[in-house]
Amino acid sequence: MASLEQQIKEKLVSSLGLKIAPEAIDDNMPLFVDGLGLDSVDALEIAAMLSVHFNVELTEQDSGRHREILASVHSLADFVRERQAAKP
């Protein structure tokens, strides 16, 4: 079973239609501005992807932390783990 990081990379590539192999995305590579060069609309796509494929929501309460959560595959994986652990 692929690690959560690997799954996230695959879903990033497929939902955003990126022309890059999932393996080519380093866990700590910046996703926005530098690195992959994603933008604000892509951030919303990622939020939708998290909801559909990992069943976690980026809520209003998280809005102060959006940048941190979405910064890299590593931070996304941490967020997903945190949210999934909190579920009953």
Partner: protein, 404 residues
Amino acid sequence: MSSRPRVVVTGMGIVSAVGWTLDDTWQAMVQGRSGLGTLTLFESQRCGKLPVGEVAGDPALRSGLDGGSRSDHLAVWAAKQAFADCGLDGSDFARERGSVVLGALTGGMLFTEEFFLRLLREDRADASHLAERACCNAADRVAEIFGLGGFRTTLSNACASGGAALSLGCDLIEAGEADVVLAGGVDSLGRIVLNGFNSLMLVSPDGCRPFDAGRKGMSVGEGAGVLVLESEAHARARGARVRAWLAGRGNTCDAHHVSAPEPEGRGLYEAMRLALADADLAAAAIDYINAHGTGTMDNDPAEAKALRALFGDALPAVSSTKRFFGHTLAAAGAIEAIVTVLALERQAIPPNLGLRSVDAKIPLAPVAEYRPAKLAVAMSTSLGFGGNNSALVLRRPEALGESA
């Protein structure tokens, strides 16, 4: 200045969430009555509670059009009003020199949605309305009804389409390509467009509040606005009543981002500057601006910066009227141009409905209440996805005599 023909507005027709006529629209402004309400056109789990500018009453029952999309019905209704208003009805003008230019985004989007709902859920392909999906159908229907055989097109510049259509109407008249242009815009609500804006987190749960400190986004609306444009000479020759002088326009593109406006409003500034230059007027001549003012976090400050840059401390009265009918997308530029002409005619500023206190970071003081005012020159602005900016300068008709 140049010897190009001056373009005047001789007729107008409108429909939106605040009503089916020009008078209904203005009455809503006078009374400060928003047309935003609950979505009834279709079901939506996520968007069902968002206030929308839905037209009340069935456009299909009022257009007199046999078949067609919701957008077609709205456009035909507005065009019929405008045509009757300008007095060309039953008149003998060269219809092959009559043009139709409409801005449109959604067209028959509801039909596309229904087609795929059936296809994906029932495994059935129902062709019954496929031919009515195209966004160019509205302009075609309008042209057919009035027998207008001249230049015809549909502009799809996102939310700046309406303004661009009016600008193109001026181009056609100035180039001698048309004598009469029915120019405007139309759009209707749909699942794609409502969920689309909502997925971008741009839609307010309590209705748009342009420039307000507590604004939470836009409200999606629908409607149609059609204006009849002619050269001044053509209008005078047939004794037409002139409603306004479309004295200048400017169009630019930010080339900054696919959906967000350039934060300093540079593209809009340039569009307004071009419109003023086109009208041969200084910024100080503007008495009122009908702003785009969608109520989103990004649009309002960018627009305010552009206004400040152009007008400095001498800002004219400003209001955004979007809380009345919502953001009517491709119709917005035309609907709001009509509101601006009404303001010039009735000598009053329509209020920036929904404003409680201006965002401290927004250097504007929009007019919050309906206010009689001496207005001679006004400007209407529209911004759209893809960084399109459109600005129009409108003047009262007596200015034509003064600056002959």
